[in-house]
């Protein structure tokens, strides 16, 4: 986890923030495809079942995905599948 930090010099005009940021958010989820990504920890599925109902009530199209293991980042093919199909992803539930 702790590895040395590399310092680099900014090659740009420095008008954008140096830190990574998440992308812009949609105004609401109505009409959007929301992927629920189960990280495969016990009880997470129950939480996501309920979340799926709540999001569907709010007009979202819910799709379900599951990681083979919570111990690793998702496989490339799963990432590609989710990216192709979803506007929004909610990953749960880490404990």
């Amino acid at each position: 986890m702790v590895s040395p930090v590399t310092v680099v010099l900014d090659p740009t005009d420095e008008s954008r923030p140096a830190a990574r940021t998440v992308g812009p958010r949609p105004d609401d989820l109505a009409g959007r495809t929301v992927g629920l990504l189960d990280i495969a920890k016990p009880r997470g599925d129950v939480f996501l079942d309920r979340l799926a109902d709540l999001l569907t009530e709010r007009g979202a199209t819910v799709r379900r995905y599951a990681k083979p293991t919570f111990t690793k980042p998702m496989p490339t093919d799963l990432r590609a599948e989710i990216t192709a199909q979803c506007d929004v992803v909610i990953e749960a539930l880490a404990d």
Binding site: G23, F47, R79, I90, E91, A94, D95
Partner: protein
Amino acid sequence: MHDLAALEADGVTATFVASSEFVTATDAQARALGFASVPAVYVAHPIQDRTDPEMAALADEALPRVLAAVTGASPAG
């Protein structure tokens, strides 16, 4: 956290839900991945011994914050 970074890099709006035990670890990992902050949602620990109704209640309680993490909505609303 890696999944969130990957999906956001692909242009997908992403969040994750974790138990409150993960706050410190998530912050550290977010910083280690170059993010100043990430839109994570935390629910009360522990999770794995909860009953189904308790898990559903947890989801009900988390919903406003989940929506806030992936939309422009306010977590209070």
